[in-house]
Subunit: 147 residues, 2 copies
């Protein structure tokens, strides 16, 4: 897909991504490094927790969503540069889940100080193989005009 | 520090964390896996980007903040279980930065359906060694009463 400049973007525009398999070994490795809580590391402890079974760290799901955005899920020229946004994890991500993204541009607000830039609000929904949202990131991203 | 139950929490309560060194090799490894954009991987490309130098993926900073929360930065009984929140990256995280957290409870809202639980809003600010905020997560976390 051609890289998209600010002039190519419009409210309501939609994007999809490729898919990503959440392997149990990677879920545990990520959690060991960044989120070493029992419900991300140990099946028995996870069964006894509010998650009722092993769940990926929400930050692992967020990082995988970023990978899907960067690898074709949102082909902004100059890349995916986020200032922030709102995040929500409506359901856990489980070992063996296959994740993919559906994204939609909600707003485009020109920068006051930099006439070649705008802030673009994009609602990025990460779905599992049952089409259930597991992570929603309403992102405030930077987009740039053609040079 | 003793694990804190819902009864132990109050609005205005503050917490600090230990520190975490952002090594360049880990910044590049994280970016290779989850955020393979030139400004996270290559010094020359990063200099030419809006970051004006190598920057960690914002998701790497977020994941490290989670690690600091889990390892004593926010000693909630039953762990750090987030439903979502707002995130912001006011400045890039650079190789060699040392990050630590300052957190404050902003609100405590009892669950309507589960009398032993509440949603606790915590503003978690990740600071670098110059006391500059690099990442702010206003988190909606679950807290539980004593069993």
């Amino acid at each position: 897909m051609e890289p998209l400049y600010l002039e190519d973007l419009q409210v309501g525009q939609r994007f999809t991504s490729s898919a990503y398999l959440m392997e149990e070994s990677r879920i545990k490795a990520f959690a060991s490094e960044f989120d070493p809580q029992p419900f991300h590391l140990d099946e028995a402890a996870a069964q006894a927790s509010v998650f009722r079974g092993l769940a990926a760290s929400g930050w692992h799901t967020a990082a995988v969503a970023m990978r899907l955005l960067v690898s074709g899920g949102l082909p902004f020229a100059y890349g995916i540069i986020g200032a922030g946004g709102e995040i929500e994890w409506p359901k856990p991500t489980r070992p063996g889940d296959t994740l993919r993204l559906e994204s939609e541009i909600l707003a485009i607000v020109p920068s006051r100080s930099k006439p070649n830039q705008a802030f673009v609000t994009v609602k990025i929904t990460t779905l599992n193989q049952n089409q259930e949202p597991v992570y929603v990131f309403t992102a405030k991203l930077l987009a740039f005009k053609r040079p």
